[in-house]
Symmetry: C2
Subunit: 229 residues, 2 copies
DNA sequence: TTACAAAATTAGGCTCGGCTAAGTTTCTAC
DNA sequence: GTAGAAACTTAGCCGAGCCTAATTTTGTAA
């Protein structure tokens, strides 16, 4: 009721800042200037400047030398972008023949240009999905998002049977590599062996057995599964 | 082969200027500063400034106090935008349930954000159409466009049988009004009566007879038709 | 032809969102 | 506790793209 009052349209830059800050502070931490700068590929002074402006617009709160946290309004914007991004990704994969490793860039630009109405139509066409092709949860039209806690594959004990739920990267090369093992969200995986010191991890999916590195295993967020692989 | 060399990404503003200049100079005229300003809803000095920059970028040629004409490169950009805009409109109407009077705004923003690849996929999904929902020709992937000369309905003689080919407006209200008479591209229309001094025009489409004003009749671009209404 | 109006440009200023260089503050290690 | 490193902010600059006000050029009409 009171959220739609001040509607100066936000710039692409502002939307990108808020998205990154949301991601960095999701775990309850504050987001640091240098982290924001790194993720946006900007210099720290640029971030300092923008943070000041966003703080004046009441989109975030800034404690100098400490970090920033989004306000409710800022979080709302970030969640709107998240919803747009993920629905666009799902739509491109579902209706326009895109591969899951190929949608990120496209969505990254489109999310700033689509209207709320178009997002609604895409979501309807998809049957209002709760997750995008990478398993990331999609905020609903009221921006409610259900972030479940999953366990990275690299922390699963040998013998355990798990289901891949999310693949936590948007890098095309990694996504392609992961897809080449069939490790899409939904896949059942049994952990066979795990070497110490970030060592290789042996898994079984269906008939096949694979050895993957620690770095990749970190990206595969899993839940304990019932049933057989 | 040699067109893809200098690829500084163009800004949204630049793309909009080139689109408008293309439209204004399509008839072989030069585009005037004030016409450009009016169509972009900017002031004349703003246009003067941008024209200088575009001229330095070799996207157009400017004769001070006379007007501007696009270079081949500038025309290429404009045609690319035209293709994007019209394919997006066709896709929104064809696949996402948009009404033809409702797609312009959406396309106006999306055209700056879509990749060439996405446009190709949309075009493929549509079967590479030659015209958009308003009957406007869509440049093909090589940016070839076939602009046929049509006659506005207001210049048709009584008794003549014509076919509506293009509806030359993007204003939603006018489009809805025109659609309410069923005057979509493809419709056969017989001209019954035409009053002088920009007076009303009586037409018959199928069983129905309508009287429309001169202003609307100007927007209905027609070709002489064979067959019966 | 000349005077005035219309059109276009130049001058100068503003915001946004980047940058580098130069301080400040905070953290860490001894 | 203090020195140095790391993180952050401030100062000051820049270009894009808009603006208003002032000036110049062009077109027109007496």
């Amino acid at each position: 009721m009171n959220a739609a009052l001040h509607q100066e349209p936000l710039t692409r830059s502002v939307e990108d800042y808020l998205k990154v800050i949301y991601r960095l502070s999701r775990n309850g931490q504050t987001a640091s200037t240098s982290d924001i700068a790194q993720h946006l590929e900007l210099t720290a002074p640029s971030v300092s400047g923008m943070v000041k402006r966003l703080s004046e617009q009441k989109l975030l709160e800034h404690v100098p030398y400490k970090g920033v946290v989004l306000t409710d309004e800022g979080r709302r914007v970030a969640l709107r972008m998240l919803r747009r991004h993920r629905i666009i990704e799902a739509y491109l994969v579902g209706f326009l023949g895109y591969a899951w490793d190929d949608v990120h860039q496209e969505a990254e630009r489109l999310e700033h240009a689509v209207s709320e109405g178009l997002i609604g139509r895409m979501a309807d066409a998809l049957g209002n999905p709760s997750h995008d092709p990478h398993g990331d949860p999609i905020p609903d039209a009221d921006l409610f998002i259900s972030e479940l806690e999953y366990t990275p594959l690299c922390e699963i004990q040998p013998g355990e049977l798990v289901q891949v739920r999310r693949v936590d990267t948007s890098e095309a090369e990694r996504l392609r590599y992961i897809a080449s093992f069939g490790l899409l969200p939904g896949t059942l995986v049994q952990l066979i062996d795990r070497q110490p010191f970030q060592g290789p991890i042996t898994i079984r999916t269906g008939e096949h057995q694979h050895v993957i590195g620690h770095e990749i295993a970190m990206l595969l967020l899993c839940s304990r599964a019932e049933g057989r692989p």
